[in-house]
């Protein structure tokens, strides 16, 4: 159902543009040209981010952090199996998806853990990635309150997700 939405909207855009006598091909090409330069500006900060993330994963740092934090999470009533997800999601969308997939195959997607992991991944945002990429591509060095505030918001989203998820799980 929702698969049809985007193509239909695009067709509507094309028809609207033709009606307004816009040179569609030229518009697209100019836009794509900008897209290319955008991509080149994104590559260096992305390299910095992925370098750090790959290192964290390969060095076993993630497992170490989870091991450190599980007693605390037990105290808060948080399933420690969700910890890697909570820690990874703000850092990397693909790492978090991989962690969720692991939980799905290990415990089943309809188990409480599986359900909550799906909610967590969907409600949180890859904050460190977006902060690095958005500011990095525009050459901003002083990011002020953006990073901590965005992190706070996404953690809030995660907490709210756990709350509503636990409430609504059957």
């Amino acid at each position: 159902m929702s698969g049809y939405l985007i193509p239909i909207l695009l067709m509507a855009l094309l028809l609207w543009s033709l009606w307004r006598r816009i040179d569609v091909l030229d518009a697209f090409v100019q836009g794509a040209r900008e897209g290319l330069s955008l991509l080149l500006r994104v590559l260096p900060p992305m390299a910095a981010m992925l370098m750090m993330l790959t290192l964290l994963q390969e060095s076993g740092c993630m497992e170490y952090l989870v091991g450190l934090l599980s007693p605390l999470s037990q105290r808060l009533g948080l399933d420690s199996r969700l910890l890697p997800l909570l820690l990874l999601r703000p850092l990397s969308g693909s790492a978090a998806s991989a962690a969720a997939a692991n939980l799905y195959t290990a415990y089943g997607p309809d188990s409480r853990v599986g359900y909550l992991s799906g909610v967590l991944v969907s409600s949180m945002e890859t904050v460190f990635y977006t902060v690095t990429i958005y500011f990095g591509a525009a050459n901003i060095r002083k990011t002020r309150y953006a990073a901590p505030a965005a992190l706070l918001v996404t953690l809030l989203a995660g907490a709210a997700g756990l709350f509503f998820g636990t409430l609504l799980y059957t």
């Binding site: 816009i22 794509a32 992305m46 409600s123 690095t132 958005y134 050459n139 918001v153 989203a157």
Partner: protein
């Protein structure tokens, strides 16, 4: 942010030296750079496509019409955005619809425009911070990625995560608006 980045890097390198040794550490670091190139190549098609679409929406006036939907929000949180207001509202709309592939190039375009009007180049403006905060807490109407993954893993009701995710991002969206507004005042 810089402290966090450098700190995590040092932590990762220390542990990596123990577990993988010197060469292992270096090759892991270089692997990160390579995966960035691979990722950018994979995203290139999407970027070219969506930026082409964006230019078309701009020239045809459709961007202005779409932007009007979210403009009260953008005006509240990014009052000095100027010509960046359009890509900001487009980016947030794309984010709401789960189109992260489109949300990023729109946001990058917004950041470039905001930087052009920046009285202190190289330092984040309130509008830039607001964009990031709103993006972090953005309402997610269609969590398609996780629904698809759940279905692939054999879930009996893959769409069951929609309601809690919607409620959670609704809460975070309101908090994001409030936080962005409050931090601008301080």
């Amino acid at each position: 942010m810089n402290v966090l980045y450098a700190g995590l890097l040092l932590l990762g390198m220390s542990l990596s030296l123990i577990r993988l040794g010197g060469e292992g550490t270096l090759s892991t670091l270089l692997l990160g750079g390579q995966s960035a190139v691979d990722l950018c190549l994979k995203m290139a098609g999407g970027y070219l496509f969506w930026m082409g679409v964006l230019e078309l929406t701009r020239r045809s006036g459709a961007a202005r019409a779409l932007g009007r939907l979210l403009s009260p929000l953008v005006r509240l949180c990014c009052p000095t955005a100027g010509d960046a207001a359009e890509p900001i509202s487009l980016s947030l709309s794309a984010n709401m619809l789960g189109l992260s592939g489109a949300a990023t190039p729109f946001a990058l375009d917004a950041m470039a425009r905001l930087e052009r009007n920046n009285p202190h180049p190289g330092t984040a403006t309130h509008d830039m911070c607001a964009l990031l905060i709103l993006n972090a807490g953005c309402l997610k109407l269609l969590p398609t990625a996780q629904i698809a993954m759940r279905q692939a893993c054999g879930s009996l009701s893959p769409g069951a995560i929609l309601v809690p995710s919607l409620l959670a991002t609704g809460v975070s969206c309101l908090c994001a608006i409030a936080l962005a507004w409050a931090l601008r005042r301080s």
